[in-house]
Symmetry: C2
Subunit: 187 residues, 2 copies
Amino acid sequence: MKAKEKILQAAYDCFSKRGYTGATTREIARLAGVSEVTLFRLFGNKKELFREVLINFSVIPDLRSISIPEGSGSEVLAEVGRKIFLSLKEKKEFLKILLSEITGLAEEAREVYSHFVETFEYLLLEVFSSVFSSSSCSELREKVRVFGAALFGFFVSEEIFQGKELSPEEIDSFIETLVRFLSGGSH
Amino acid sequence: MKAKEKILQAAYDCFSKRGYTGATTREIARLAGVSEVTLFRLFGNKKELFREVLINFSVIPDLRSISIPEGSGSEVLAEVGRKIFLSLKEKKEFLKILLSEITGLAEEAREVYSHFVETFEYLLLEVFSSVFSSSSCSELREKVRVFGAALFGFFVSEEIFQGKELSPEEIDSFIETLVRFLSGGSH
DNA sequence: GTTAATAGTAAGTACTTACTTACATCTTTA
DNA sequence: TAAAGATGTAAGTAAGTACTTACTATTAAC
């Protein structure tokens, strides 16, 4: 692994553990096993390094790579919900960085987040319109909103705030309930 | 207003704007209109001040003070949802602090958050068991989870991440959709 | 084998941070 | 009026921060 990669990975770990202000270039360099001078030569300054971390470890590619599976309506929804949740889980540290800097470093973080929301909603809208083909456009968007908010809220609350590592069964259980309500029946 | 109160208020503003590490005792004192020495005399150190801010500006009292209104099932749910959302909105800055410090300052922040989740779920369970009196206990808890996650996720995503200030109509619209799905019918 | 790129070491700069000490001023209370 | 408490000013400490400069060592390319 080249120095640049090692630094990016160390910065990712360090920013997610200590936040932007809390992370120091010294510690990042030490973790990466390179000198601090190398860090500054390759990235110029701390903020630029942060920006590159946000680009390199984004959850977006994971979301984009999710394909719509075959099956009945409820099955498709549940499967996509599962995949989204797992993508979020895999990029948990990245999301922690985003969370911890959303107030302080507004510009960069908010930009990345907006992009995330767009991709998220676009993907869901695609899925929902294939599953609920008879629904109106506004009806679809309502469902996407509720589904997205519930999934995201569940993830943030359990995995990030409470620091839990949910098992596949716990995730499935939540998603199946959610899909049941959205599909119209409560039984 | 006494010095202690002024400092607490200034610290609240400053922590929510810059995060724990980003906020400085100098700026807090300046904002409060007191000397930095007074700050240290009254609070000992920065961490202790932070702890007192978390206690003083918690969203818990707001949540606890929510009473269950009269009306049909759906009306009650929607009204409670609205009240919860408004409580969150009122303590938005407090929640930003919690969010930005959940990873860095784990102990204090996580403790406060756990307390928040408990109160949140307890309140919802009370409401749901009066609204869906025929549902089983596990069914009730499932509904509470979905309702809570969706409400919280919607708030965090829109108000905190995207920095929007949602109008009462937008809030109502989301909550009504959510209640409709949870009440079993999609029409 | 020379050159150019990539890394490291050592030292230092200019600044900021949390926090302290010593002493003076004002206000309230007894 | 005297004592006690709360606040301010001025100055400083020790440590940490991002970032720089000057120079050296290693590696790969031509």
